[in-house]
Amino acid sequence: MTVSPSLDERFRAAAAAAELLDVAYDLLPDTPVGTLLVGVTDRGVCRISFDPEPEHHLELLARVFGPRVLRASKPVDRVRRELDEYFEGKRRHFDVEPDVRGIPDFYRQVLAELARVEYGTTTTYGTLAALTGNPRAARAVGTVMNRNPIPIVLPCHRVIGASGSLTGYGGGLDRKEHLLRLEGAIL
């Protein structure tokens, strides 16, 4: 006798409805950039990952936000809807707040500047470094982009090399190219 899928879903829904979760997460299969793992807290979205294997993330999320990390679909609905709209080209700005607790100060400053880079435009690692007051920290900015816990919503795909090359992306260059094409930033 094992727990039926419907009983399992009922428990997960009840846990979320009772507001007992530190982090609720769910998988979004079949987005144009593959399966995404999305984590949310009561403050907003705290994780988007191109690596859909939850076990890689749960411990990290538990350490930062608290141990009550559970897969639950409903709390993720808002982000799911905003991402759907974004992928359909109907959304240029995310209304959901990023929850950046647990991120070191320098990273946070860089991510705050990154959040201002507009849809359909690109900037460079060096420009972002200068905006945070460290013009020579382009490489460090690259590291921050690579470790961005909330890609797409915090648009690190809009940061490219000074020569115009796409350079790199935590989720792989194919995805970066796809997102920039979707936004019309490249042809």
């Binding site: 727990v3 399992d8 428990f11 979760l21 939850p54 009550r68 990390v69």
Partner: protein, 148 residues
């Protein structure tokens, strides 16, 4: 370090559900299952370490079984639970057994407080029936010594 709740839940949900099914029947087991893990979720941030999680969740499930039995039968009609003065035995046992090593404590409370058999206690503690029997009798010996 306490594991993420998802990991804990996935590891124990089926055996907790089977236990509740045996004690309550399928219909009531579904409600009791949800209640067990909601209670576990409420208490989870207060846990100090990730040891004995299995015994812990079985203790919660057992308490819900007892509550369910009390709701369904008028007080005093719970012969298998050794009720005295309207208090089930586990409420007396819990404070008395505070100083026992965790495994012995769980075995004693589950055996004499919740009337689980040794096979169920073995399952709850992640060991065997005979290990559960040994842990319970070691716990009782220790209690006799302490309370002499």
């Amino acid at each position: 370090m306490i594991p993420p709740f998802e990991t804990f839940y996935e590891a124990h949900r089926d055996e907790v559900y089977r236990f509740l099914g045996r004690r309550l029947g399928r219909q009531s087991a579904e409600d009791a299952f949800q209640e067990t893990f909601l209670r576990a979720l409420r208490a989870y941030p207060r846990l100090e370490d990730g040891e004995h999680l299995r015994a812990w969740v079985f203790t919660i499930a057992s308490r819900i079984v007892v509550d369910d039995a009390r709701r369904r039968k008028p007080a005093g009609e719970l012969p298998e639970l050794a009720v005295e003065d309207g208090l089930p035995a586990f409420e007396d046992l819990a404070p008395l057994t505070d100083d026992l090593p965790p495994k012995e404590r769980a075995a004693v409370v589950l055996r004499y407080g919740y009337d689980l058999d040794y096979a169920e206690i073995g399952a709850a503690l992640g060991s065997t029936e005979s290990a559960a029997r040994q842990a319970a009798s070691a716990g009782v010996r220790r209690l006799r010594k302490e309370h002499r």
